[in-house]
């Protein structure tokens, strides 16, 4: 194995160029003022201070709130589905998991456009509702439409890790629990749920991360006025052109996410030990 080690070098160089340098640039921009030359930059906290304005705080609150709701819905719907899939024969499970991932093969933009079509005022759903004389319901450009988009896009990221941890579980443990007097409900909470925790934690972290930082879906399904932190960063870079502020927000987001993940892991540990 050892003699192949140098093969990793090109990869290291690429990750340096593509990951580490941009990250470094973001930190650099976040702490400097707009407009200075690369060589005569001046250090500042201004970009971070600006973030404390109410408008921006509201944006981050809303983002986290939406991320939280999306994650909760994905968990509530995804866990039963993953559980259900894991009860099939191995062959059937492969097919079902494939079905779960199929939407991911299609470009996210296309999928989101499809949702726009379904949800719009004269879209398919409203036409059906109209037939039933329930009148058109305005669904586009609301929290609802954004949530639908987020949940549908990120559901596989919840289902797959949970399914994996359920599959890895030794089925004889369930029999052991029943043998010791646990009925089906007790067996689920005392064994299945506990042993699927690693998958749940993975799924929750992944979906939360994706949902909090998403900007395409809220933009398309929430409309131009819909501001999440991802949109805010995007607009700072693309339309406003304030790279320094944009970088600062990115850093703040990254730090908050890191902290929340640590908290998640801590809670998981505590639950395991209890």
């Amino acid at each position: 194995m050892k003699q192949y080690r140098h093969l990793i070098r090109p990869y290291l160089i690429w990750s340096l160029v593509l990951v580490v340098i941009p990250l470094f640039l973001i930190v650099f921009y976040a702490f400097t003022e707009e407009g200075n030359e690369v060589l005569t930059f001046s250090f500042t906290w201004k970009n971070f201070a600006r973030f404390l304005e109410a408008t921006y705080l509201n944006v981050i609150l809303k983002s986290f709130w939406l991320g939280f709701i999306t994650t909760a819905i994905c968990l509530l719907l995804g866990y039963p589905l993953a559980y259900f899939i894991s009860r099939f024969s191995e062959k059937a499970q492969d097919t079902l998991i494939l079905l779960v991932t199929i939407p991911m093969w299609i470009n996210m933009l296309l999928r989101t456009y499809a949702w726009m079509n379904l949800l719009s005022d004269n879209g398919i759903i409203n036409q059906l509702l109209g037939r039933l004389n329930l009148g058109p319901v305005s669904m586009m450009y609301t929290d609802f439409s954004v949530l639908v988009g987020l949940v549908c896009n990120f559901m596989p990221f919840m289902i797959i890790p949970i399914h994996t941890s359920l599959c890895k579980m030794d089925k004889s443990l369930l029999e052991a629990a029943m043998d010791l007097g646990a009925n089906r409900v007790q067996t689920f909470w005392k064994v299945t749920w506990k042993l699927s925790m690693p998958g749940v934690v993975n799924g929750v972290m992944m979906v939360f991360l994706l949902a909090v930082s998403s900007f395409v879906i809220p933009k398309l399904l929430g409309g131009g006025q819909y501001m999440l932190i991802g949109n805010l960063i995007e607009s700072q870079f693309i339309s406003v052109g304030d790279w320094n502020f944009g970088s600062a927000i990115s850093m703040i987001l990254a730090v908050i996410i890191l902290i929340s993940m640590r908290l998640m892991q801590k809670m998981d540990k505590l639950q395991q030990e209890e």
Binding site: D170, E175, A176, D179, G181
Partner: protein, 348 residues
């Protein structure tokens, strides 16, 4: 007279279109150490799983204290199982694994820790309360599994090849301990194994199974000394199995000679099979015996020699402490009580 605890009545079980149990009828008594013994795939585990409630019989009845229970779910049965691969809960430590059943029954915490401690002491794991079960050795995991089942004070403990994954030395030691534990707690053990030595040394009663059918039920000595058919005779220990026929009660003919024996109850001239255990045969000078032959092979086995003797009709396997060189002509000597006559059965 001991009380009948479990009665299996004509159990059958089909998986898909394969019949794996073909009418198992068996009585299990209180405080008994009963072993299901048979080759791989004969339906031992299936029988045990039906008693535990993990499988429903296709037909037949399971009676517990005289009450039909084949539709009662496992968690309502007064039976606990020690699984072959232990099936300890990896997310719980040793004490919590053992306390699992008691916690479900909402037993008081102080009582639980007392009982857990007593169990750990019995299986020789005192002080292991807070260990991670996934880091224990196979033998230790096995003890935890036994403690986890016994702490619930079941009427019956089911054990499915509990020692299968252990190496020979620990196996021997655990056999003795299991037997000791069974005497100590005084409950019924139903034990599954395909190791005949294990079955004979531990059990009060042995049930020999093959192909989903019971071949013989009896004490270890009965099973060894009085095998009822060719399968039992060849599965338990080594034996010479010879076709012959009963002339009349107490007289059997095989290899063209007539021998006195202790068996009766066969029809006159009935075709039978005769078992001669290798260790019951002695070698003597040819003129002192009816059956004579030539030594073809001799192997030293520690306590005894294993000698292959070719006679006019067949090869005999003899275990004896006497030595005879290859090529020597000798006679085979055995007494009436060494001859075991069995009903003839289909080809094996």
């Amino acid at each position: 007279m001991k009380n009948k605890l479990i009665e299996l009545r004509n159990l059958t079980k089909n998986f898909d279109d394969q019949q794996v149990l073909k009418g198992i009828s068996l009585d299990i008594y209180e405080n008994e150490f009963l072993t299901l013994l048979g080759p791989s795939g004969c339906g031992k585990t299936t029988t045990l799983r039906i008693i535990a409630g993990f499988e429903e019989p296709s037909d037949g009845q399971v009676l517990f204290n005289g009450i039909e229970i084949s539709k009662v779910p496992p968690y309502k049965r007064e039976v606990n199982t020690v699984f072959q691969k232990y099936a300890l809960f990896p997310h719980l430590n040793v004490a919590d694994n053992i306390a699992f059943g008691l916690n479900l029954k909402k037993v008081e915490k102080s009582v639980i820790s007392q009982k857990v401690e007593r169990m750990l002491k019995m299986v020789g794991l005192s002080g292991f309360e807070n260990r991670d079960v996934t880091l224990l050795s196979g033998g230790q995991q096995q003890r935890v599994a036994i403690a986890r089942a016994l702490v619930n004070e079941p009427k019956v403990l089911l054990l499915d090849e509990p020692l299968g994954a252990l190496d020979a030395k620990i196996r021997k030691q655990m056999q003795l301990e299991l037997k000791k534990i069974q005497r100590e707690v005084g409950i019924t053990f139903v034990y599954v194994t395909h190791d005949q030595e294990e079955a004979l040394s531990m059990s009060d009663a042995v049930v020999v199974m093959n192909n989903g059918e019971i071949q013989q039920i009896g004490t270890p000595t009965d099973i060894y000394n009085e095998p009822e058919n060719r399968f039992v005779a060849s599965f338990i220990g080594e034996s010479n199995i010879i076709e012959g026929h009963m002339i009349r009660d107490y007289l059997v003919e095989f290899d063209d000679f007539q021998f006195e024996c202790v068996d009766k109850g066969f029809e006159d001239n009935e075709e039978v099979e005769v078992v001669l255990r290798p260790e019951d045969l002695d070698i003597v000078e040819p003129e002192h015996a009816k059956i004579t032959g030539v030594v073809r092979d001799i192997t030293f086995k520690g306590v005894h020699y294993e000698i292959m003797i070719e006679t006019e009709k067949r090869m005999y396997n003899v275990h004896t402490t006497d030595y005879a060189p290859v090529g020597k002509k000798i006679g085979l000597l055995f007494g009436p009580e060494d001859i075991h006559v069995m009903c003839k059965m289909g080809a094996y």
